[in-house]
Amino acid sequence: MTAVRLPLESGRGLRSAREVLAAAWEWARTRLFNSPANAVVSLLLIVLLAWASFLFLRWMAFEADWGVVRTNRRLLLVGRFPQDQEWRIWPVVYALTALLGWTWGSWGRVTRWAAATMALIGVLVLPTLAGWGGALAFLPAVTLAALVHLVALRLATRPAWRTRVRVASGVGWFLALPLTLALLHVRGGVDPTLWGGLYLNLVVASGAVMGALPLGIALALARTSSFRALRWASTVYVEVMRGLPLPVMLTLSWLALRTFLPSWGGLDEVALVYRVTIAFALFTAAFIAEAVRGGLNSIPRGQREAAAALGLQWWQMTAYVTMPQAIRNSLPALAGEFIGLFMTTTLVAVVGLTDMLQAARGTTEQPDFFGRQKEVLLFVGMLFWVTAFALSRLSARLERALAGKGTRRA
């Protein structure tokens, strides 16, 4: 990758200006001007890039007003969640950041790049956007995450502990949602219609994942099963779901899920947030089923035959032989589905819930911040971006770590 290193990086100290220049030119020549066509393209791109950055920087410096984000940060993060009930949210924030640190630590070290990006966001971007108070509120959580990260990293270096540390991270993630929901409901609870902002996006997304994963795996098994009825039913389900636009599905769930649910035990009286989460889960399950089916199909036939030869029952074969490999093979696809799910939770707006994006759109109604849609949308986009990007990096790391394990096909 780096055939020519800049003298600055080589650790031999600064050379003369001419040498630096020569090295820089060498770097540019091999990467940007290695053919006439490339030279033209590079020049064009440089001009475009310069122009775009100029416009952006000018806007940032002279036009943008981040007061809209600072004033409304509470609305954006938790919506109209009652202020005196915030103790229900902070433990989750701590748990999640700590879990993130732990997971990252147990699957590898935070790269210099990632650390630098996070520090930049923490020190520069967050205070600008959310005010020092807003940023400082998260400082303990971030410190905890960093500490937990180091502990996990240290533990994971011991081979005997590595697996345990990793299993713990997985268990932690599965316990996160029940913890969140429990905190939202104990001691009187907070009415679901008051959940909002980014918190709503997270709750809906994680709830949907928890529902969709088992359902998706079941559908994938049904679709690869030798029972015709199961196969067909699963195929029809998956294809129907994949053929429907999510907004239609959501509105349908809002209007009709109540109609189709039996009234036993007040099942048809569940809160809208839960119904929407069910809709998301039903929808995502179809995509997860396809991902897992892809993983199942990639397992060589010989393994099944070997399992059968060993006298394993179907469920034993599935649980010990095929499914672990299928999940591992489909991990990139699964991660993609989850990240996509998190982002599509913005569509809850269709049924009138106020998630982060809707809260953001609402702020431009406040007379002080009229026409500040660009700032607030940029902030919302960036928050989504950071979360999704971190998740995608994490999944890539997970994938690499798992790739070393187990049997791989030649």
Partner: protein
Amino acid sequence: MTALPVGRSPLASALARVLAWTRDVRVRRVVLEAVTLGLVAALVIYIGMRAREASSLNFDFMQERAGFGIGDQFLTQADGSSTRWHAYFAGVMNTLRITIFGILLSLGLGLGIGVARLSTNWLAAKLAFLYVEAIRNTPLLVFVVFCYTAVVLRLPRIQESASLFGVAHFSNRAIALPWPRPQDGAGAFALALLGGLVVAWGVWRVLARREVLTGRPSYPWRGALAVFVAAALVAFVATGMPLRMEAPEVTRFSYAAGLRLSPEFVGLLLALSLFNAAFVAEIVRGAIEAVPRGEREAAAALGLSGWQQLHLIVLPQALRTMLPPLATQCQNLAKMSSVGIVIAFPDLMTVGGTVINNSGEAIPVFVLMMATYFALNLVIAFLLVGPQWRFNWSTGRRA
């Protein structure tokens, strides 16, 4: 198992036979199949009955007067006095329009970005990577709202309409472009074009056959194109030049004549195609990387240029791998176009929602919308994966 010892009581032997029967794998299969089928059928029937209970699924209300106008229409002319069917159809045509142009744009853009990611130009590769990462981790809805309110609505007002050499005009009322308007004889010209297409196809077939049979290069594509262009030119002159370019004019509130694209359409198209291009780029990149490196090296050893390597060796093979995911991506685009509702684009979701609101008939309209999206998906799958079948035919079965 079937050989029963002699001398048992008839009852015991019957019991043994039944027991043996339950252990028979084939019987178990049939029973289990029947049970699963029954369960599935019961579920379907339950849902169907609940749906019937809630709605009569009668579509008569769609024949009533719509009562609302649709500003931006594509080949339809529904207004307040049209039926709801007509209004719905106008919505469908708008969805079709955004889907078709969105697919074309995002395929072109995505192909470019996907190739750029593998480019030897460092800057191009990095920028393409940045683009893909930036888009893929942002929700589409944020993007759509941004493209509309922060990009398209920032175009000049109609009073300060900007123009490009006096032929094309831009404002946040519309983007108006010159467009050929059919004159007398356009029908004949269209027929002639169709004929030209058929002839060109024939030429392509003959030349392609010759190439396969004789091994001599016969340039079927170039031949067909030449025949088609020649036929089109001759027909155009012979029918009395039935198309006249028409430049748009600025009027008080909008533009007259020419092709006028509404800001909602442009904003949604921009957002959808820029968004989808990132996904298409990833598919393209994956497919190109899946072509064994050796193929390219062999082509290079044969003296093929970079472009020749790409379009003769790499892309045809990559195309085969990328078509199924591309088809899915295009279906996604069609479905995603339903977010147009947030920026007032009157697609079928928007119109359907208005009809529900005016009539109160939620379930029938939903059934209609679902059926429409399904049909759209099937058509896309057929158009894009259809060629896949042909590819397999021509290249034979893959190992």
